[in-house]
């Protein structure tokens, strides 16, 4: 019963929770983008996305330990930088390859099947990923190397913003900006949006729809890979069920923002991060999950297609 309505110890901590919420939220946003892009293009709730994120974290964990044996922030700086860079390079690649392969093997043969068929397949993929995670690292949480300092960058202001927080922001924000620019201005990005809006017409324009979908899966997977590295470094523990919980938050973020909508996913991620942190602070940690889903339901009641979702679909 502690925590239930107990006022937070940090008087005026609101700003602090806001900061923390935005940091966590940008992480959710990164995962949410993978959901939203795939949904946008083939209308699939990709239940396996969260578990891909989990596999990414396991892969990154291997990278931290294996090539350099770097496991703490006290390691020499060049080794630290190299390790993190390696993780940020190879993990997204790994996740992208896995995601594209799954699309090729599982989803592509179902391209003209009813939606439910594809969703159920995605649930199947999610189960398989989870089992692989379980066999890979066992059922108990594994410590992730603590490579980034916890030193406070806002020392003396009464607020806390650590190197870790900075890392999250420094990776997620440029990634999201790059993605937005890619989708908005490049040929392939426009082809993606065109395919999402009307796959048949896109084919008539000479767009290879299967290739565009594969690229979407690659990008979504890579984003999950980036997010998994950041998550591992930030939370410092990973386990085979982390994909479910975080995937659910991220998917909630995507839906909250209006699934299929890229700025919406970012907005939704940030909203969920902030709401979750505030609920933790003011209602107690155990209610934060319920509050997040409560908010989702309330938002959908008033805006059935999410915060930034298209009001009506331009179909028929």
């Amino acid at each position: 019963m502690e925590g239930w309505l107990a006022p937070t110890e940090l008087a005026g901590g609101f700003l602090q929770f806001l900061i923390l919420g935005l940091v966590i939220g940008s992480l959710y946003a990164l995962i949410a983008l993978g959901y939203t892009m795939v949904y946008g293009i083939i209308e699939l709730i990709n239940f396996a996305h969260g578990d891909l994120f989990m596999l990414g974290a396991f892969f990154a964990l291997g990278l931290a330990i294996w090539p350099m044996g770097v496991t703490t922030a006290e390691a020499p700086l060049p080794a630290l930088v190299a390790t993190v860079a390696l993780m940020l390079l190879l993990t997204p690649l790994f996740c992208a390859i896995v995601n594209v392969s799954v699309d090729r093997v599982v989803y592509r043969p179902l391209r003209n099947s009813p939606k439910l068929t594809v969703i159920v397949s995605a649930i199947g993929v999610s189960f398989i990923f989870m089992n692989i995670g379980l066999l890979w690292r066992g059922a108990t949480p594994v410590k992730f190397p603590d490579l980034i300092s916890d030193a406070n960058l806002l020392e003396g202001t009464g607020l806390r913003f650590t190197w870790k927080d900075l890392m999250v922001v420094a990776v997620t924000v440029p990634t999201m900006i790059a993605l937005t620019l890619f989708v908005r201005y490049t040929r392939l990005g426009k082809a993606m949006r065109a395919t999402a809006q009307n796959p048949v017409a896109a084919q008539l324009m000479g767009i290879n729809v299967n290739r565009v979908i594969a690229v979407t899966f690659a990008i979504g997977g890579a984003l999950a890979g980036v997010a998994s590295v950041i998550y591992g470094l930030y939370i410092k523990a990973v386990d085979y069920q982390m994909g479910f919980q975080n995937g659910l938050y991220a998917f909630t973020a995507a839906v909250l923002g209006g699934v299929g909508n890229i700025p919406g996913a970012v907005l939704g991620g940030l909203t969920i991060g902030v709401v979750g942190e505030l609920a933790k602070a003011y209602l107690g940690a155990k209610w934060s999950e319920a509050v997040i889903f409560g908010i989702l339901i309330v938002v959908l009641l008033f805006r059935p297609t999410g915060l930034l979702g298209a009001r009506t679909r331009e179909k028929v």
Binding site: R187, K190, A191, R193, A194, Q197, N198, V200, A201, A202, Q203, L204, M205, G206, I207, N208, V209, A310, E314
Partner: protein, 269 residues
């Protein structure tokens, strides 16, 4: 499925007039066909929509397919574009057998065959300009694209003004113009137009057909399907009448326009 054709008229029409004899009379005998469709069968699920359908388009022609709702006009175009797979027969475009080679739809566009689909199917959340860029997706010559953009803006000045608007906010006529303009951006040799007059005000229909003729003068061959038979036949060199998936009549635009069966069934006389 079947037509709004008066039953007496359709009974009169259906015994299948032997077609190509009249049809090829005006076509340039020397040229080989740009598009040759032979004995095409296509459909959805268990239903065959097209039955041994054959037609040709010669370079420089405007060819119209007229027919009632559900006759298979749209399916014909979709099959030529590769969207609906052909179950039998062959489709030869510029000497390449699209069916035998199994060329996918996005490759067919590269061969010079562009399709402005029924109901426009523009990309509603892309701007007009982005829609046009998508039309030029297969091309890699920025100068040529810029020149063609200028050309379509000359044909459809309204699109120039609307460049930055999302396609979904255009009026029906503007969307049709955009759909045609978008198809033109592929610099096609053959343009497939599906019901370009559908749901548009009469003066806009007149404008669209003026543009089609202008395009044809510039060297684009056109295969269009229409329910507005009068407008289509007036503007076409040749025409085909499609009934429940079969070609039942063919001839020059003028021949068909004056054919009593066509007049009764499609021109309301």
């Amino acid at each position: 499925m079947t037509a709004a054709v008066p039953s007496a008229a359709s009974a009169e029409l259906s015994p299948g007039v032997p077609q190509p004899a009249t049809g090829d009379a005006t076509s340039p005998a020397t040229a080989s066909p740009l598009l040759l469709v032979e004995d095409l069968e296509a459909g959805y699920g268990p239903i065959n929509v097209l039955h041994r359908l054959s037609l040709t388009v010669y370079p420089g022609e405007i060819v119209a397919i007229i027919g009632a709702n559900g006759a298979g006009k749209t399916t014909t175009l979709l099959a030529i574009s590769g969207i609906v797979p052909a179950r039998a027969g062959r489709i030869v475009f510029q000497g390449r057998d699209l069916t035998a080679e199994g060329i996918p739809p996005h490759e067919i566009v590269r061969l010079g065959l562009a399709h402005a689909p029924e109901g426009r199917k523009i990309f509603p959340r892309l701007t007009v300009r982005e829609n046009l860029d998508m039309g030029a997706f297969t091309r890699n010559d920025p100068d040529g694209i810029a020149a063609d953009l200028e050309k379509v803006f000359t044909l459809f000045p309204i699109l120039r003004q609307r460049q930055q608007q999302p396609g979904g906010l255009l009026s029906g006529g503007e969307q049709q113009m955009l759909a045609i303009a978008r198809a033109l951006m592929a610099r096609p040799k053959l343009l497939l137009l599906d019901e370009p007059s559908l749901g548009l005000a009469p003066q806009i229909v007149v404008h669209i057909f003026q543009v089609i003729r202008e395009l044809n003068r510039q060297g684009v061959s056109v295969l269009l399907v229409e329910q507005n038979a009068r407008m289509a036949l007036k503007n076409a060199h040749r025409g085909y009448v499609l009934e429940t998936g079969r070609i039942t009549l063919s001839g020059t635009g003028q021949q068909l326009l004056h054919d009593p069966r066509v007049r009764a069934a499609y021109l309301g006389e």
